[in-house]
Every structure is written in structure tokens, then in C-alpha cells.
């Protein structure tokens, strides 16, 4: 029993050390999640529940509560402004439906950076 748990500890340490910044929660192989994965995953960003991504064929069954992600680079040339919107959307609009992903630690800072890159690429 003791042996088993120490093996697990070692494994966890090795995985944590070797894997990239973010790992899929349910995926023991430690596959890295991309910004897109995080944005689509309903246990992570779940942006799709409100925002459509019209130019991504994989973005199916998206909601329509929020504006679609299009021409984001043109509309958000300032990366800091885009990041701030995702980190705490209530700053720009106190009545917003959008969850404050950074402020409420729904996503980690690294995850938010990846999502910002992804959204800016759209």
C-alpha cells in the first residue's frame, strides 16, 4: 500500500515536470491542451456555450448569447485589452453574462494566455 502510493507520487512528479504548461484533466497521458481545446472544453473555458466560432468547422452546437468570434485581431489589436475582457468581463460590463475567468480562477493565468492567443488568431 505504502509502495503503491509512493510510486504514484513519483509518477505525479515526473508527469508534472515533463508535461507542458497545461494538461487535460481526464487524460492521464498528460496531453497538452491548446488554447482552442481550452476554449471549447465545457469543463474549461466553454466559450462555445455563448460564442460561435464561425470559421472553425469543429465549433459545433455553439450558443448565441454572445457575439461570435470573428476578426478578433482587427477588433482587439491591443492584446492586454482582450486579456482583460477574458480575465474579468464585469469590468467592461457589470451586467455581463460572461464569467470572470481569471478573477474567479476558472482558468489559470497560463490557460488564459493560451486562450487569448487562440481568440486573437480568429
Amino acid at each position: 500500500m505504502k509502495n503503491k502510493s509512493s510510486i504514484l507520487t513519483v509518477l505525479a512528479v515526473v508527469l508534472a515536470a515533463s508535461a507542458g504548461p497545461v494538461m487535460a484533466a481526464d487524460d492521464g497521458k498528460g496531453k497538452e491542451l491548446s488554447g482552442r481545446d481550452i476554449a471549447f472544453d465545457n469543463k474549461k473555458g466553454n466559450c462555445l456555450s455563448c460564442h460561435a466560432v464561425p470559421n472553425d468547422p469543429k465549433a459545433v452546437a455553439a450558443g448565441n448569447i454572445a457575439p461570435p468570434f470573428i476578426m478578433m485581431k482587427e477588433r482587439y489589436p491591443d492584446r492586454a485589452k482582450l486579456r482583460a475582457q477574458i480575465w474579468d468581463s464585469t469590468q467592461a460590463n457589470p451586467k455581463t453574462a460572461m464569467p470572470p475567468f481569471g478573477k474567479h480562477r476558472i482558468l489559470s493565468e497560463q490557460e488564459i494566455d493560451l486562450v487569448v492567443d487562440f481568440v486573437q488568431s480568429l
Binding site: 462555445l48 448569447i65 453574462a97 464569467p99
Partner: protein, 275 residues
């Protein structure tokens, strides 16, 4: 002169109070107006259909399922519970006006004696208590099935909730605050989804308007899975990572009171199928 002045001041105070607290009826009218604006094609009477009123295909499917409801056997279990005599020989019908027909639409009500909101489930349990029978557990399937049958006796009755007096109003306001307050990691209030965004889609789920929501319980989801109104509160709260409250907690009962008032005048539909 002095007297005149104080009357004048008194009037001012009343006016100020009205300004600060919209009455439940003002709230309901304002909400109706809001839904008329964002869902112009939905008839008011159809609000009890929830999201089905927004999707003709889903409504058609619902209609055909309701012709032979898959939950008839479940409701039958509820009927047996309702009809089974207590040890003293009486039955539930002895506790309700009209043998329990067309009564459920007046619940919840505010009981000034105990200073609390009394839900229909509370009334069923009070009946058991007064007849020296064991109460049923809130959130249990048994109480849910009993209420499903008992409420079916009020199918079609118009929701008729009263908020009268200071304490009743306080309970109503408490439920309303709960409905409009953000909570949980995702920072949602009930109103963000069911008021601000009614008719919109989150993923492929279309959001139903709050008016009408309290008028058709319990539901049988996927055919036979019984869900009570407060069970649905808990599901929504779990979905948005907020801590659900206990069944029959004072907050949930107040929330149910507020929400049912908002459905005032609409015909009850109980029980119903939902997918």
C-alpha cells in the same frame, strides 16, 4: 396647519416607499413586458411550455409524447399514496378543500401564523403530521410522486398566488433577491439565463423564460425520471458550479414563492414530460 403638514409628510413617505419597492404586481408586469419585447412571437399562455414554446418541432414531439405519457405508471404510484387510508382511516382528501381538486395553484402561500412560506409539499407533510403519520423526506421520490398525482388534480387551474402583508412581502423580496444575485465560481444569477437571455441558446439548449416555469411541476425528464421544481433549482445551480441548497430550505421556499407569483394567472400543467 401642523396636522396638514404631517399628513403631507406622511403622503410623501408613502410615495417614497412605492418608489423604492416595486410591488409584486409591478414586478410581474415589468417582466411580462420584457418577455414580450424579446420573445414577441410567444403567446403569454404558452410560457408554461418553457423552451418548448420556442421550438415548434420540439413542441410537436412533446404533444405526441403527452398523448400516451410514459410516466402514467409513476403517477399511479402517487395516486396509491394519495388514496391509501391513514391509520385513523382518513386520507389526504380530508386535509384539502374540494378533496384536493383545483387547490395546488394557490401554493405556495405565506402563513402569518408560522411566519413562513408554505409549499404544496409542506401541506402534504402537514397532513401526514396532523394524522399521526410519518412525514416524507423532502427531495424523496415518494414525496415527488405523491405531489405529481396530487397536483394533477389541479391541472389547468390558474396559478393564484397572494403576497399580502409585510412579512409575506419580505419572503417574496428574499426570493427575488436570490433570483437576481450572482453566485458561484461562474458568477451567474438565475436571471442572467432566464430573464436577460431567454430564447437564446447556451450550446444547443434554448433558455426558457422565467414566467411560466413554476407552473408545471413535477416534470418527468426523459420519460420517467422525476424532477421537482426545487430539484431543478439544484440542477441549474450545480450546472453553473454554485452550491445548491437543501430541499425545503427557507431560501428555496421563498424563491419558489417569488417564481410562482410571476406565473400568476397562467394555467397549471401538471405533471409534464421534458426531454
Amino acid at each position: 396647519m401642523k396636522r396638514r403638514l404631517s399628513i403631507f409628510l406622511g403622503c410623501l413617505l408613502v410615495v417614497a416607499n412605492i418608489g423604492a419597492y416595486a410591488s409584486p404586481e409591478d414586478d410581474r408586469k415589468a417582466l411580462l413586458k420584457h418577455y414580450k419585447q424579446i420573445l414577441p412571437n410567444v403567446k403569454q399562455a404558452d410560457y408554461v411550455l418553457g423552451a418548448l414554446a420556442l421550438n415548434p418541432d420540439a413542441k410537436e414531439q412533446y404533444d405526441s409524447i403527452m398523448m400516451f405519457p410514459p410516466f402514467v405508471n409513476d403517477v399511479d404510484v402517487g395516486r396509491e399514496l394519495w388514496e391509501k387510508p391513514f391509520k385513523n382511516g382518513k386520507t389526504f382528501t380530508s386535509c384539502f378543500r374540494n378533496g384536493g381538486k383545483n387547490v395546488a395553484g394557490s401554493y405556495p402561500y405565506f402563513d402569518n401564523g408560522v411566519g413562513k412560506v408554505i409549499t404544496f409539499e409542506n401541506a402534504l407533510n402537514a397532513c401526514l403530521r396532523h394524522n399521526d403519520e410519518a412525514e416524507l423526506k423532502y427531495g424523496s421520490n415518494e414525496l415527488g410522486l405523491l405531489s405529481a398525482y396530487a397536483k394533477s388534480l389541479s391541472d389547468g387551474m390558474k396559478v393564484n398566488i397572494k403576497v399580502e402583508g409585510k412579512d409575506a412581502l419580505a419572503a417574496y423580496e428574499n426570493g427575488k433577491d436570490y433570483y437576481y444575485s450572482r453566485r458561484g465560481q461562474l458568477n451567474f444569477s438565475c436571471a442572467i439565463c432566464h430573464v436577460d437571455n431567454a430564447g437564446k441558446f447556451t450550446r444547443s439548449e434554448q433558455l426558457s423564460p422565467m414566467i411560466g416555469q413554476a407552473a408545471h411541476w413535477p416534470e418527468f425528464r426523459a420519460g420517467t425520471e422525476l424532477v421537482t421544481l426545487q430539484g431543478r433549482f439544484r440542477q441549474c445551480q450545480k450546472n453553473v458550479r454554485a452550491a445548491p441548497l437543501e430541499y425545503n430550505s427557507e431560501e428555496y421556499n421563498n424563491l419558489e414563492y417569488f417564481m410562482t407569483y410571476m406565473s400568476k394567472g397562467l394555467p397549471m400543467q401538471t405533471p409534464v414530460f421534458r426531454k
